[in-house]
């Protein structure tokens, strides 16, 4: 077993043990904190499909994160009020069941990601970073000024959406739901990374001409990666809306896109568990510093700066040594 794999196992175990320990100590809030870590990690795993495998630095993934959140909010509000979401070709009243919401969140995120990706992938490098930002900003301003679902005030979810057979209102159960989804996404990531598709994607990141020479069009595999990436981030958005019982345009803001990128770098770019390590660290910093001082953002900045300058390769990079990029 490689050192990185041991660290991955340790991280997965650590994240699982937080809520269990919290339960034993009667400190329920730490379950919420761990759930938040798992959901942010899931969103960043989504982004990692594009960023880690394909080298596509999307500065607009908050769009998909927020769309997922809005799907959860809109579906559950229609189900709760029994008003139809649309009445043609059939009457649809939304849903308060997580599986249906997740599916819709992933599908809608993917459908919106397709045209965005198709246009954005014509560009590269910094242009790609900025054009993805532009699309996210369009959706952000749309959400702010669209009054039907609360505009800037956002949309509340009165009762957390359900999952067949379990009671999601119990914090530990909701954590486990998120945790299992996170593991599933990580497994998918590992699978894709080691597949022919993943190999082509990574080859395209390093040398585009070589890829074209063996007859693979980088555009199509990148578009596929971007779409999968958006779907998973959308799923995480639906979960975050359920955790907060609330969704608002701030989930769509460029700061959120930046935060998702920060999570990946903080954990270790190109690592399977980078997003997990990054999300755990970031939430922990935010929580501990926020409790200590009202100037917590200043110190958070100092810590992040320290990580870039002195801990190259993020947390996993420091712990596991240099990555063997494949």
């Amino acid at each position: 077993m490689s050192r990185e794999r041991a660290i991955n196992l340790l991280l997965a175990g650590l994240l699982l043990s937080v809520p269990l320990a919290a339960l034993a100590l009667g400190e329920l809030f730490y379950i919420t904190l761990a759930t938040r870590m798992a959901i942010l990690a899931l969103a960043a795993v989504g982004l990692n499909f594009a960023l880690g495998l394909g080298g596509l630095v999307s500065f607009g993934h908050a769009a998909f994160f927020g769309i997922g959140g809005y799907v959860a909010g809109i579906f559950s509000s229609h189900a709760f009020n029994q008003t139809p979401l649309f009445s043609w070709p059939f009457e649809f009243f939304g849903s308060d069941q997580m599986p249906a919401i997740w599916l819709a969140a992933m599908l809608i995120s993917a459908l919106i990601a397709l045209p965005i990706g198709a246009i954005s992938l014509r560009t590269a490098g910094v242009y790609f970073i900025m054009i993805t930002l532009a699309f996210a900003q369009m959706i952000y301003y749309f959400a702010i000024s669209w009054p039907a679902y609360g505009g800037e005030d956002g949309l509340s979810i009165v009762v957390r959406n359900g999952f067949p057979g379990v009671n999601t209102a119990v914090p530990l159960i909701f954590f486990l739901v998120c945790y299992v989804l996170l593991l599933a996404a990580l497994a998918l990531f590992a699978l894709v990374r080691d597949s022919r598709f993943g190999a082509a994607l990574q080859a395209g990141r390093q040398n585009e001409t070589r890829l074209a020479a063996v007859g693979i069009a980088p555009f199509r595999i990148r578009l596929a990666a971007f779409t999968i990436s958006a779907a998973i981030t959308g799923l995480a958005g639906a979960l975050l809306a359920d955790l907060n019982r609330f969704v608002s345009p701030s989930m769509l803001s460029w700061q959120m896109s930046g935060e998702l990128i920060v999570l990946i770098i903080l954990g270790g770019t190109g690592r399977l568990f980078g997003p997990v390590a990054g999300a755990m660290l970031f939430v922990l910093f935010e929580f501990v510093l926020g409790g200590l001082t009202e100037r917590w953002q200043f110190f958070l900045g100092l810590i992040l700066l320290g990580v870039v300058l002195f801990a190259r390769g993020g947390l996993i990079g420091v712990l596991a040594g240099k990555a063997r990029h494949g």
């Binding site: 400190e27 301003y141 000024s145 505009g151 005030d153 509340s156 609330f246 701030s250 009202e294």
Partner: protein, 379 residues
């Protein structure tokens, strides 16, 4: 764990010494203490803590945390304060969108929420809750008062503008509820915009006889400075938010003479308010804003209720809050059935006292004003 232990030890010692309070109260304050909007949060917090200090009160324990103006952070802090700090009451939120994120889940967990600033319309109407009290105002109130003032002042063709988001559209709707005449134009700007040259050019060309705007925070400062510099001299009316003590310093003489509507002013003539202004100046070295007065009122409301009933007995405590048996800086203060204030709204004018810009009351816009959403509230 340690905190809870300390709190219960404190509780024991207090009940042993037999003070007037039925039970120690733990208050969680989530407010904005960083970034561009920090001034409002700092004022609410300072006003709140001043009231506690004056009451010589140690059995109300306050946990203060910064929401950085982000709804997600506010929700997380509310969860933390309820689950980990075990607070009985939450308060402190400045912005409507954060209140909409936090309040429903707080009240659903059987905790009290007392709003010292934001008053979004759903929480006053269809989504009102027995454990939610608004000590400041329903969002529309000051805009309605401005509409009433515009009618009274005889303006025939006001130009009105606000940012394009729910509070902005609510603001202009509120204005139009009490001003039903002709409008020169109704303009919505981008939220967070800081350049209003295009809008000011439109104002100049519109033939308006007055300008009403709702642009909170830095937007209002930018608008007012640019308006004064542009040389357009159509009279301006605004809600107090853009002419409050926290922003007047940055606006400078550009604000002089502007009429604005507020439920409180530093020169309000009642003993509580005067004592509050003096003690706030002595403590913090600045004139309090209306946000500070709202924080001060919120703390005094809690103190008055805690003296009557135990916070653990929710029904009794709620009844004590409803009675609003405290000395408000506003003078007369009572709650409507939807737990929002019934109070007078004044017209103030920005004046200069020595070197310092502040406000002076010049009239009453609406007496015993109550919001229109109460009818939709079923508690």
């Amino acid at each position: 764990m340690k905190k809870i232990l300390a709190a219960s030890v404190l509780g024991l010692s207090l009940s042993a010494s037999g003070l007037a309070y039925a039970e120690p109260v733990k208050v969680g304050m989530i407010t904005t203490l960083s970034g561009g909007g920090a001034g409002l949060g700092v004022d609410v917090r300072d006003g709140f803590l001043l009231a506690l200090k004056q009451a010589g009160n140690t059995e109300i324990e306050v946990v203060v945390e910064d929401d950085a103006m982000k709804p997600e952070t506010a929700v997380q802090l509310a969860d933390k304060m309820i689950q980990s700090d075990q607070v009985d009451i939450l308060t402190g939120i400045i912005w409507s969108n954060l209140a909409m994120a936090v309040v429903p889940s707080v009240t659903a967990q059987d905790k009290f929420y007392l709003s010292p600033n934001a008053g979004p319309s759903p929480l006053a109407g269809a989504k009102c809750h027995k454990n939610y009290f608004n000590v400041a105002w329903q969002n529309d109130s000051l805009h309605e008062a401005a509409g009433a003032y515009a009618t009274k002042a005889g303006y025939k063709k006001p130009f009105i503008l606000a940012p394009n988001y729910p509070a902005g559209t609510d603001a202009l709707t509120g204005f139009k509820r009490f001003y039903t005449g002709e409008l020169a134009n109704e303009v919505y700007t981008k939220l967070g915009a800081t350049d209003y040259a295009a809008e000011i050019s439109q104002i100049r060309a519109s033939g308006a006889d007055a300008v009403y705007f709702f642009l909170p925070g830095g937007m209002g400062i930018a608008f007012m400075k640019q308006y004064a510099q542009s040389g357009v001299n159509i009279p301006v009316v605004g809600p107090a938010f853009s002419f409050s003590q926290d922003v007047l310093g940055a606006m400078g003489d550009a604000a002089l003479g502007v009429k604005n509507t507020a439920q409180w002013s530093p020169d309000l003539d009642n003993a509580t308010s005067k004592a509050f202004v003096e003690s706030f100046k002595a403590e913090y070295g600045r004139i309090p804003s209306l946000y500070a007065s709202q924080g001060f009122d919120t703390a005094n409301l809690i103190l008055s209720a805690a003296a009557k009933a135990s916070v653990k007995d929710a029904d009794a405590f709620r009844a004590a809050l409803e009675a609003a048996d405290f000395k408000s800086t506003r003078g007369d203060f009572k709650f409507a059935p939807n737990h929002h204030p019934i109070h007078d709204v004044y017209v103030r004018e920005v004046v200069k006292e020595g070197d310092v810009l502040t406000n002076k009351i010049v009239g009453v816009a609406l007496e015993d004003h109550q919001d229109v959403y109460a009818a939709e509230c079923k508690m």
